[in-house]
């Protein structure tokens, strides 16, 4: 069952002016219930534009975007669409509304008019699932980037969306913060069956996804499972770096070593190479 559907979507910034930018150029894709989709592409390939199209922050010039059957072009649907599709953005500092962590997480549920005791329940639950419960009465200002981003995720979770879109939400974090956030997101996908759309330009972050969509110049350039990492030359031609383990495996294949499974991580590589001889 698909939740988000994009049908031949086009989007242009600053339309009918000198600085016209075609950001999305005829994209058709759907995100299914419980799925983990990674969208990769280098700078300016239209990933953020896709994210904004998915919850109706912008509406397509041509084509149609629907969320749970609701058209994003109809303003009356936006409220329900945004309850279904939560978006976590890149810069955690620009997503916080309140000066106290629990107040910030409460912002979403407050907007949908929940009774106060229920809001508190949800806020605590969301903070627990991102491991930030103990910080609830503190100020976000003192947290590390990874912690701030987990609070931002909790803020989206508190609305219990069916899809969570993360637009390069780990790109400003250190490796530790990135790992923490990735773990939280993977858990939500596996345990809560929440669909995840992970937008990134790190191929490494895409390896755990069920499906990888590669964007280039506003179009879907390639899509599929891990097997796409074998198409190293094509990916590199549009400015993407294939994970190191896949590169090694690809090189070995060129040299005639038989590695038939897809190798994307260091462990997989070790497990593949060591039994050979």
């Amino acid at each position: 069952m698909s939740i988000i559907q994009l049908q031949d979507v086009y989007f242009t910034y600053n339309r009918a002016s000198d600085s016209e930018v075609r950001a999305v150029n005829g994209v058709t894709l759907s995100i299914n219930e419980g799925e983990f989709v990674a969208i990769v592409g280098h700078n300016g390939s239209g990933k953020s534009t896709l994210a904004k199209l998915m919850n109706g922050l912008i509406t397509p010039d041509k084509g149609k975007v629907t969320v749970a059957g609701l058209d994003t072009a109809n303003e009356k649907n936006l409220f329900d669409i945004r309850r279904n599709v939560g978006v976590v953005f890149q810069n955690p500092d620009n997503q916080m509304v309140a000066t106290i962590i629990e107040d910030d997480v409460a912002f979403g549920p407050e907007n949908i008019g929940m009774p106060s005791d229920q809001i508190r329940e949800r806020v605590y639950e969301s903070l627990k699932s991102v491991g930030m419960y103990d910080y609830r009465e503190g100020t976000p200002h003192r947290l590390s980037g990874g912690q701030k981003q987990r609070v931002a995720i909790a803020g989206v979770l508190a609305l219990r969306p069916r899809v969570m879109v993360l637009d390069e939400s780990t790109s400003m974090l250190d490796p530790r913060g990135r790992a923490d956030v990735m773990k939280v997101v993977n858990d939500l996908n596996k345990k809560e069956k929440m669909a995840v759309v992970m937008i990134t330009h790190f191929m490494e972050e895409a390896v755990t996804a069920d499906r990888i969509i590669v964007m280039n110049e506003g179009r879907i350039y390639m899509q599929g499972g891990k097997e796409i990492f074998k198409r190293q030359a094509e990916l590199e031609s549009i400015g993407l770096t294939v994970p190191l383990a896949s590169r090694v495996a690809n090189r070995l294949r060129e040299k005639g070593v038989v590695i038939d499974e897809d190798v994307t991580t260091y462990e997989e590589l070790v497990n593949k190479i060591c039994p050979l001889e």
């Binding site: 509304v97 000066t99 106290i100 929940m114 200002h141």
Partner: protein
Amino acid sequence: MREITLGQYYPVRSVIHSLDPRAKLVLMIAYIVMIFFVDTFVGYGLVLLFLLLVIFLSKVPLGKVLKSLKMILFLVIFTVVMSVLFYNGNENDLLWGWGIIRIYSQGLINAGKMALRLIFLVLGPTILTFTTTPVQLTDALESLLKPLSYIKVPVHSLAMVMSIALRLIPTLVEETDKIQNAQKARCADFETGNIFKRAKAMLPVLIPLFVSSFRRADELADAMDSRCYRGAKGRTRMKKMHFRLRDAVSLLIFALFFFVILWLRYNFFPAFFDLSLLTWLV
């Protein structure tokens, strides 16, 4: 990094902290009005006792409260000096005179009262901000001004703007620091030269700050929209403000106190208690 505190909230649990912020805001305004009715030292003594009691109950160290008076120290001294120098009194009231400088005892008394009035005026809001967070204050303001929304004043939006501004201040201060350091690394000089030179040196800091603030505002608006924000419509709050018995009691106690102050001033019901007995003290 610079430590940035928003306002000066002192986070402890106390009766004063737990009062409804709306009650505290109303009390603070009433207190300021009351100060203008005090005109005797007895009155100021009573207000001082009252404030000491409140500070004690709030568990905020007295030293911290007094420290916040530092910023008006100059103003107080200036006011006292001016009003002593320019007081035109009766010649047989003259304490000391030299050339055109003449100091009258009534002038000294007036100056003292004026200084006390200033100090007490500042102490009210000070205690309020020590015991109430900025968010509580904006919430209280929104709630108290709600009637105005019936005449189409955008009370909710104004309160939201205020609370977002409060939220963004530390971020912007941090960013200013960052940009300033980046400029310093390129040999920009912010510390020397006259005020115009320094202001000019700030320009390359302010422009990027301005640009990035707009970008920030844009992103924040997207984030708020994404979290189903649609203004006051249908919005509830997690932390509801509750007007409880303790708030009613506080208001009542304050009303009584205000009454005593007015009584001191206007001496109504003189038959009941002759206040002139008290005024000889001064």
